[in-house]
């Protein structure tokens, strides 16, 4: 990739050129595949009633897909925006855990850490966490996070503008698309019996309280299932 920040034959990071290219190629592949989801987010967000500007600001500043989908999903269901924000924050806690894992590997301080934190998400962590050296981890993290950031925002704007032009989202089944998006995000996490049980219990709790509490609250109530299960499963190990 000629756009690499350092293209001299012996880069200061000590990685040989083939390794560098391989990391950058893999990172861009993941970046392109992931960034394209932004179209889905943009369309779903305006369908939920957010403006194009609000939709774009979410992708620029929140920049963590599941949290963004959660916020607009709660709003689409008629929930208070702040219930949606709280759900988004709860989902965002997993990035904190990723950060704990990544901090020693990336070994960033100062402005690099401040900037790097913004692209600390599922994919950048997944692409960097398996690297054996700090330069390799930084390269994978930066290229994955950076390419997703650019594409996710471009795609969000495109999806939001297109979604806005379409009119009533129900005609196009976009209300069904929201549930499908959450299911696709959930799917890879259903690998263990424990997670499947927690998922089923959480869905049951949420549906059980739908008739009783304001919209948005059922999803927050389901977070309680995670707390209880997290404390209780200890003894089974």
């Amino acid at each position: 990739m000629s756009a690499a920040p350092s293209s001299d034959p012996a880069p200061a990071d000590g990685l040989d050129p083939p390794t560098r290219s391989a990391i950058i190629r893999d990172s861009l592949g993941v970046g392109i595949a992931t960034g394209a989801y932004g179209v889905g987010f943009g369309a779903v967000s305006v369908a939920a009633g957010l403006s194009v500007a609000q939709t774009c600001v979410l992708s620029l500043l929140v920049f963590t897909g599941a949290s963004q989908f959660a916020l607009v999903g709660v709003v689409a269901a008629g929930g208070a925006p702040l219930s949606g924000a709280l759900t988004a924050l709860l989902l965002g806690t997993r990035n904190t855990l990723y950060g704990l894992r990544m901090a020693p590997l990336l070994a960033w301080s100062g402005w690099r850490r401040v900037l790097g934190a913004h692209v600390l998400i599922d994919e950048s962590t997944a692409m960097a966490v398996t690297r054996t050296s700090t330069p390799a981890a930084r390269l994978a993290f930066t290229w994955t996070g950076g390419s997703i950031f650019v594409l996710w925002n471009v795609a969000t704007a495109a999806g939001a503008v297109a979604g806005n032009a379409l009119g009533d989202p129900r005609t196009y089944g976009l209300d069904a698309a929201v549930g499908a998006a959450f299911l696709a995000l959930l799917w890879p996490r259903l690998h263990s019996r424990r997670n499947q049980l927690v998922g089923a219990a959480a869905a049951a709790v949420a549906l059980g309280v739908v008739p009783l509490v304001p919209a948005g609250v059922p999803v927050l109530a389901a977070a309680g299932v995670a707390l209880v299960a997290g404390v209780l499963v200890r003894d089974e190990r």
């Binding site: 394209a36 989801y37 889905g40 957010l50 609000q54 979410l58 500043l61 929140v62 963590t64 949290s67 963004q68 959660a70 709003v75 269901a77 008629g78 702040l82 924000a85 759900t87 988004a88 924050l89 989902l91 965002g92 997993r94 990035n95 855990l97 704990l100 990544m102 020693p104 990336l106 850490r113 934190a117 913004h118 998400i121 005609t171 196009y172 089944g173 069904a176 698309a177 549930g179 499908a180 959450f182 299911l183 696709a184 959930l186 799917w187 997670n195 927690v198 959480a202 869905a203 049951a204 949420a206 739908v210 009783l212 999803v219 109530a221 389901a222 977070a223 299932v225 707390l227 299960a229």
Partner: protein, 99 residues
């Protein structure tokens, strides 16, 4: 109110990321914290799927969205890409509403 929610989400989600890179790992790296943090996305996403598909106001209903989610499950089982799953579900729901 929506802008407030956008601002709260933006500030909060960024600080959660920065905290992970800044806090000494021993503060949060405990088995119970890790388990809960691992299970929170599972619980929230499951609840979001359920509510998104079946709730209409304070009622639980089976409508075109249910068919959409069935299509999504099938597409996920055959390992279709994310966008195919999302728009496949939308298409199914849109078609059934046309009938």
């Amino acid at each position: 109110m929506m802008w407030v929610a956008v601002a709260v989400s933006a500030a909060g989600c960024y600080l959660l990321k920065l905290a992970g890179l800044s806090v000494p790992s021993r503060v949060l790296e405990r088995p119970v914290v890790e388990r809960i943090a691992d299970l929170i996305p599972v619980a929230l996403l499951s609840a979001l799927v359920a509510v998104q598909v079946m709730a209409r106001g304070h009622e639980l209903v089976i409508d075109a969205r249910a068919l959409g989610i069935v299509v999504a499950v099938v597409l996920l089982l055959v390992r279709a890409p994310f966008l195919v799953v999302v728009f496949g579900a939308a298409l199914a729901a849109a078609l059934v509403r046309l009938l």
